[in-house]
Point group: C2
Chain length 202, copies 2
């Protein structure tokens, strides 16, 4: 077969894969790990079960790939938006708010289901560990860039990490109820402390 | 039957209940929500299944009661230790470290399993919501007392909440790997910010 035929097939395959991955994140966030199977995701994505299993032989493969894929998409999108960030003191507030919203959303809810399932499932844990490390690294690197933080100064690396750990804790508090108002107040207080930290070093 | 007979029976019943609740927290933390049933907990506690079901008719009853019971025990223990806290600037460091350790431990891992299961189980969610509110309130009140924080000052309430949200985020980061070293560094940085906040208002 020539290029003209092969190319569209690869595109179709890539599109199918992307639909499955996006549906897998939706599924995890909505029905949790126990109810999330390759079949359920295939149906949600409008893909045959056979095609889904061709792309992802196991449930663990599908859901870890889904969190990785949607995280990469999100990081790429946010990195592209970095040049549009406001300058000056508004920047820290803007970045902290954006991080808070990210961990209050669907991707975090889905990842939380996977992490917590992995705590008592050794097979899943083996696949989630490198994913957790990668997602954590990407979130940290993006936050450093967004804040324009210089990690060579003492305490700056820890302050950036605290921002992300705080956002994850707030994400957890937003799991069962809408915690938006309280989250904004807590993040406003943290922004003051973080701005002071970054300013003394500028 | 006279008092002399009834009293020991009530004590036995109370002891059985306590054993079931402690075993339920261990079970949740170790095997997760899916593998945690009344039967599994009864066996672990050395109690007959019938006796367990007499105390806790449903799985939801048993595990929400278990988190409530162990939280109350912990809060009571920590409140009793308040008079032994060091005075002066060491106090904030001590309290922040203690909170960090609490959310790195078994009770938080168990509660996390229950909260995350409740996100996609409406029946469980109805029972977890008031429990989450109560546990959050108790943790907040105890932290205010431990820090000797005056919440009438602007931002102090939010700084106390941020301490707990940060500790929950760090607890999450400690779920699949031992994150102790990084947690200590992040909490040390947070202690500096929190001490500054509390000191400007003293």
């Amino acid at each position: 077969m020539g290029e003209a035929v092969r190319e569209p097939r690869q595109d179709r395959s890539r599109a199918t894969r992307g639909r499955l991955l996006a549906a897998a994140v939706d599924c995890l966030a909505e029905v949790g790990w126990t109810g999330s199977t390759v079949s359920v995701v295939a149906e949600r994505a409008g893909v045959s079960r056979g095609a889904a299993q061709h792309h992802f032989p196991t449930r663990e493969d599908l859901f870890t790939a889904a969190i990785a894929y949607v995280t990469d998409e999100r990081v790429e999108f946010l990195r592209a938006a970095l040049p549009t960030l406001p300058p000056g003191p508004d920047r820290t507030r803007f970045v902290v708010d954006a991080i808070g919203e990210m961990y209050a959303g669907k991707l975090f809810k889905a990842a939380l289901q996977l992490w917590v399932a992995a705590a008592s499932d050794e097979q899943l844990r083996v696949q989630v560990l490198p994913l957790e490390a990668r997602v954590g690294r990407e979130a940290h690197q993006l936050t450093v860039e967004a804040l324009g933080a210089d990690e060579s100064h003492p305490g700056v690396r820890e302050a950036v990490q605290a921002t992300l750990d705080l956002a994850r804790g707030l994400g957890l508090a937003n799991l069962l109820t809408d915690d938006t108002k309280r989250r904004h107040r807590v993040l406003a207080e943290w922004t003051t402390a973080l701005s002071a930290k970054l300013a003394t070093l500028a």
